[in-house]
């Protein structure tokens, strides 16, 4: 998504003619003049499979957390995700499924955002005061605090910054309240802290949000907000636990086996759709051969050249 690497491509008519000529043989369309002998493989080589965003890693990522997080951050994140989806050696949870490594790799790979994000100013500033009409600003726009959730993600922090700042806030909060780092708390204490973070949900009932402890943690978590931090951790945990193992989490399909998902299959028969799946091996992208490798489907050559974006 870096604009410097985006290229435009002009598809010349001559190039089209050549490819269309090749397609004509298969498709039985009216022949057009100037057909050359371009073949399918050559057409395909022009097309960049990465044009629509990065491909998954070629090999599954390792279960190590050493690219983005510091040692202290690693301990906190590991403890946190281990409470969201607890596990053991026999019944893997987020830690056993390498979710911390998934998050670490994601943050290291994307200096800004892994998902398309409009990240230009002005940024929103929630307020309980009046919203002036026709606001014009280059840096800040006021938005009603109780309506802000309807606008979705409006942070001016990148995920790297949100993790770094959020984990520091978490540490500050637990040291003040318990005198300990988050990772040193008991499981029950960790759950209590996570529950407070979650209870800051702007859509939660007012009685929930008005509890003194919920308000207190909300004062420590300024940026990211308490609920914003919780949501980020939970979303990344679910991604790591349940996305393809190529991305570093879901080790040995732990997440998919937990929910009974057989993984990426090429096809289901009509009978299976109507009734039940026949037994299948759980598999992911690494076990799933590309459809028609090296061959355009059915000889129908689609004469389009590529452009790319990182």
């Amino acid at each position: 998504m870096d604009e410097n690497t985006e290229k435009s491509t002009r598809l010349s008519r001559k190039r089209f003619l050549g490819r269309a000529g090749a397609a004509t043989l298969t498709l039985g369309l009216a022949a057009c003049g100037g057909a050359t002998s371009n073949n399918g493989a050559e057409s395909a080589a022009d097309i960049d499979a990465k044009a629509f965003g990065p491909l998954p890693p070629e090999q599954p990522l390792l279960c190590t957390v050493d690219r983005f997080f510091t040692d202290d951050e690693r301990l906190s994140v590991t403890a946190f995700v281990g409470r969201l989806i607890p596990g053991s050696a026999e019944d893997p949870g987020a830690v056993e499924a390498c979710v911390p490594a998934y998050i670490d790799n994601k943050l290291a790979q994307f200096a800004s955002f892994a998902t398309p994000t409009y990240f230009r100013a002005p940024f929103a500033k929630p307020t309980t005061g009046r919203i002036p009409a026709n606001q014009r600003s280059d840096d800040t726009l006021l938005v009603s605090k109780d309506q802000a959730y309807r606008y979705g993600f409006q942070s001016s922090q990148t995920p790297q910054d949100s993790y770094r700042a959020g984990l520091a806030q978490l540490d500050r909060y637990t040291r003040k309240r318990y005198g300990l780092a988050f990772s040193a708390l008991t499981g029950a204490q960790q759950d209590a802290v996570i529950t407070l973070l979650e209870s800051n949900d702007p859509e939660a009932p007012q009685a929930t949000r008005n509890q003194p402890q919920v308000k207190a943690i909300g004062k420590v978590f300024v940026k990211p907000s308490a609920f914003g931090f919780f949501s980020m951790l939970r979303n990344d945990t679910n991604e790591g636990m349940f996305a393809d193992p190529m991305y570093g989490g879901n080790k040995d399909f732990a997440g998919w086996k937990l929910v009974g998902y057989p993984g990426a299959q090429r096809a289901w028969t009509p009978d299976e759709v109507r009734t039940a799946p026949r037994p299948r091996r759980v598999q992911g992208l690494q076990q799933l051969a590309p459809m028609n490798p090296g061959h355009p489907a059915h000889g129908a050559i689609l004469p389009i050249a590529g452009s790319e974006r990182s």
Binding site: E3, L11, A23, D48, G152, Y261, G306
Partner: protein
């Protein structure tokens, strides 16, 4: 200094479905045409040959417009702050050759006869006072009967699957009895339906409703389309919406209309290029379009005819950005009509149930392997004693469930979505929960509109489009009625327990995905005083500019737009091919 290219007959903004439909007809008739496409090239192979990657396509929106470059701002009303959709929520416009029609769900509909004469119908049946305050609903300038041959041609070309409910006025068992008459049966039988859909259908039948399988632009049998493209039958793989189809079973511009267009040698697509504006000469007619390539160089492509064939929202924006001496407020906007009648689609789930111990196969199939009832859509039911106009489809939750984004709807009994208890819930019930979904009408109101944002700009410094939109009392009332109907169906489906309910629609919010069906903004009509274009999408005040797509809809019925978008494009391309060039610049009648 912009580089000027040789003049062509037609230039289009974007290379999505309507552009490729135009190209397949106009280029075959000898016209040369260029499409300027902001995204990359796309084809079945290799882009979609290895695409069962939930994270890349669903989680990271690989086929969608890159928001780092541009987005859309929204505010609920004229007093609130308008903020950009910074990450994907409400809708997912696509980019690249084929546009959003590459990743569409292929739910293929015709609108109801009454949808096309909306205002007249409501006034005739219920009186003027039935219209909600501020409603600006209008009749379409084209009737169902006029559009039927084009619906038929498109559905046949893409090899649609379904069961007709009304063939030439005769109601057919198993189909949608409320649909408008169609001239013939679908080309292919309906798709398979998963156990959740089957249970939904049984419950609906017990309640006296009329369930049928979702008509789909997905082939249930392999076939060769009229252009010579071969399509495999659907593999029910479970990776459909937000994905390209690796076997061309799901119809798209790339596998239906693009190959014949390119085979003419008269069609050219320039990818990675962003249109900045339509240029206008001193006589007020369009002269071509200015665009910028990715290295930042400006180009001018002169053309006899300019077609705004981008996504709905971008078409409105392009007209508004094309300000000139003769059209100071933008093309089509001499009478202040651009941006009016912006509408959307009601889409949330009403209720989720769980059937413990049962597998529902929700991860198989696609969005169309479902059952639907139309008993409460449009005006097929009497609204005399109801406090709203409009209707919705109710349907069994779409399939192709992917684990990473489908775990949190399954709450524990105490509402938790993390921790040991939730993990047990996932283990037991991830494939045993499912909901009832809605797809509802969005009526046009004077306060809902799009215009240019004063604060936010795109990568090239041009203003983003600002959406001012919220649901009103009419939709809130409609929702409560549909919620009650959904609960009746859900109870008749005998779940072990109800997981969650949504009794109130609430206000519109842009953070949650609903549907990629923003509509209106450049609406078609019979009168330049209340529309932007005529019945062909030809802009009243700049007749050598056409608009295609759902921006033309005066208001949005309770069904997906693509079938009607394509039918209108078939009709317009025929008119341009057969009549426009005889007398360029004159309004088609």
């Amino acid at each position: 200094m912009a580089k000027t290219h040789p003049k062509v007959d037609v230039v289009t903004i974007g290379a999505g479905w309507t552009a490729t439909i135009l190209a397949s007809r106009l280029c075959a008739a000898g016209h040369d045409m260029v499409s300027i496409e902001q995204g990359p090239a796309a084809s079945t192979w290799p882009q979609f040959s290895h695409d069962h990657d939930s994270l890349r396509f669903s989680g990271r929106y690989a086929l969608m417009v890159d928001l780092a470059r541009e987005s859309w701002t929204w505010r609920p009303d004229g007093r609130a702050a308008a903020l950009p959709m910074r990450q994907y929520g409400s809708f997912n416009p696509g980019e690249g050759v084929g546009g959003a029609a590459v990743h569409w769900s292929a739910q293929l509909w015709r609108y109801l006869e009454t949808d096309f004469r909306y205002r007249s119908h409501v006034v005739e049946r219920y009186g003027e006072s039935k219209l909600p305050p501020g409603a600006t609903v209008q009749d379409w300038p084209v009737s169902y009967d006029e559009l039927e041959p084009y619906y038929d041609a498109f559905e046949w070309d893409v090899g649609a699957s379904g069961k007709a409910g009304n063939i030439q006025g005769k109601i057919q068992p198993g189909g949608n009895p409320f649909e408008a008459p169609r001239s013939r049966e679908y080309r292919h039988p309906a798709l398979e339906v998963t156990p959740h859909g089957a249970r939904f259908a049984q419950a609906c039948e017990r309640l006296g409703l009329h369930p049928f399988t979702q008509p789909a632009g997905i082939a249930s049998r392999a076939f060769t389309d009229p252009y010579g493209n071969f399509h495999s039958s659907c593999l029910y793989c479970g990776f459909c919406t937000r994905f390209g189809c690796e076997v061309d079973a799901k119809a798209s511009p790339v596998n239906v209309h693009l190959p014949p267009a390119l085979a003419t040698g008269k069609y050219e697509i320039r990818t990675g290029c962003k249109v900045l504006r339509i240029e206008v000469g001193s006589d007020g007619r369009a002269t071509g379009i200015t665009y910028v390539d990715a290295s930042g160089d400006e180009h001018f492509q002169p053309a006899e005819l300019v077609v705004a064939s981008a996504f709905t929202l971008e078409n409105s924006r392009m007209l508004l950005l094309s300000r000139s001496k003769t059209h100071p407020n933008g093309i089509g906007n001499d009478r202040g009509q651009v941006g009016r009648n912006y509408t959307y689609q009601i889409y949330p789930q009403t209720v989720i149930g769980v059937w413990e111990g049962e597998n529902l196969n929700m991860y198989m199939g696609n969005t169309c392997t479902i059952k639907i009832v139309y008993d409460f859509n449009g005006d097929v039911f009497d609204h005399s004693d109801l406090d709203f106009i409009g209707g919705m489809q109710l349907f069994s939750e779409p399939c192709e469930r992917e684990p990473f984004n489908s775990v949190t709807p399954l709450q524990t009994k105490d509402g938790s979505t993390w921790g040991a208890g939730w993990k047990e819930e996932l283990r037991k019930n991830w494939d045993s929960y499912a909901g009832i979904n809605t797809e509802g009408e969005s009526i046009a109101y004077e306060q809902n509109l799009v215009d240019l944002d004063p604060n936010y700009r795109d990568r090239w410094g041009q203003p983003l489009l600002r959406i001012t939109f919220d649901w009103t009392e009419n939709e809130q009332n409609m929702w409560r009625f549909m919620y009650a109907r959904s609960l009746e169906i859900m109870r008749a489906m005998s779940p072990t327990r109800i997981v969650s309910t949504t009794p109130e629609l609430g206000g519109y919010r842009i953070d949650k995905y609903q549907s990629t069906h923003p509509t209106g903004g450049c609406i078609m009509g019979r009168d330049p005083g209340d529309s932007v274009t005529n019945a062909y999408g030809q802009v009243w005040d700049t007749p050598n500019v056409f608009v295609t797509g759902a921006a033309l809809f005066p208001q949005n019925p309770g069904a997906n737009p693509t079938g009607t978008v394509a039918a209108l494009a078939y009709r317009t391309s025929e008119a341009i091919r057969d009549r426009y060039f005889d007398d360029p610049g004159e309004l088609l009648t």
